[in-house]
Symmetry: C2
Subunit: 219 residues, 2 copies
Amino acid sequence: MARLPIYLRTLFEVKADEVSTISSERLAELAGVNAAKVRKDLSYLGSFGTRGVGYEVDHLLVEISRELGLTRDWPVVIVGVGNLGAALANYGGFGQRGFPVAALVDADRSKVGTLFGGHKIHHLDDLPALVADRGITIGIIATPAAGAQEVADQLVAAGVTSILNFAPAVVNVSEHATLRKVDLALELQVLSFYGQRDLLSASLREEPGVSVDSETAVS
Amino acid sequence: MARLPIYLRTLFEVKADEVSTISSERLAELAGVNAAKVRKDLSYLGSFGTRGVGYEVDHLLVEISRELGLTRDWPVVIVGVGNLGAALANYGGFGQRGFPVAALVDADRSKVGTLFGGHKIHHLDDLPALVADRGITIGIIATPAAGAQEVADQLVAAGVTSILNFAPAVVNVSEHATLRKVDLALELQVLSFYGQRDLLSASLREEPGVSVDSETAVS
DNA sequence: CGGACTTTGTGAACAAGTGAACAAGGTCGG
DNA sequence: CCGACCTTGTTCACTTGTTCACAAAGTCCG
């Protein structure tokens, strides 16, 4: 399921090249996955490929968009207008893709009332009213780690059902809500792990005499 | 393996509370995972828990840091100083966690030479020299999708072995390099999918007579 | 109109990751 | 020093996801 957005983006790209039909193999190549996986994923939506030809690009776009619920806009509220929150508010990519920033919220009263990227910053306490008035269903947490759980609770209480958490903290929500997280430092630490490993194996090739526990070196 | 950074963060938090020893069960609870998983993950690093007591926090911190290669700083270069790149450069979180921003690079010559967040912006062509001089091993791609693959190739050619890609595009690198991606729009689209589904099931409960294909409704 | 060719959709083997359960090993009070 | 108690490390069954392989279905050219 998490691959559908990738297919969607890929299909938009091939559509720009005026390709009207595409095979699972070609789509797989462009999306960077296995062809069988593509077919299985798409067959789950229903079967509207034609054998011997492939999938009609326009039709696929419609079906995937519908499955993902992208036939309408989903307004979002950004909580926490610090460095990261400000950046996200400024970043135009959300609105373009159907997720307009509908409100900015912060707990710091000195920020409340100021304008940022065309939006007035509201206080956290106004969350319920904002969510209700503007039909917001998605909340983005861009606060420090310490406040993340608290904010998540308030978002859910205000009626938000989907949360994207950028704060480096473990956050739990009731089972009625969906939470996903993006942890930038975590991504870098994983890269560091691989970088470290490559460095290690490189130095081993240079000095094979150095004794290192093989299991550690391997994986 | 991708869970080690979470354990690390959690351990730092409990250390601040002057906890010197922790059981797998407690750590699992704080990190939001299963206790057996914690034990299995940690046993892979070697076995330095003591049965009947738990794990020594300080020792674990050292071991996990070493495993992740966090005993040194890993300078990063950010390619693309647009909205997102600028935001990431400004965001202090990287430097704090051992990933100092060592250089900013852009293809737009009108930006080159200007200062941003204490860093002078260099031209993309200077990448090889910057990477070599400043010991950079990690590159962050914050360009538009169209340039992402090209930038990735140049990063690898310049000697970078780990890449974090924020551009909404599929990027391939040689097997000597590691690539991870963060796609903000993708995360929101996944949330949209769940939001859509919740809406659907809610309306079904209200009007059970409405006919909807059951397979679509279920998952 | 018929046969060669292409591509889907799916069944079945395979691999990876998860979680429950338990024995081995260690602590601690008496 | 001993037995009750606790927690790790590991085994095993199970679920989930991936990939292969192939029959069914459709196109297209002669």
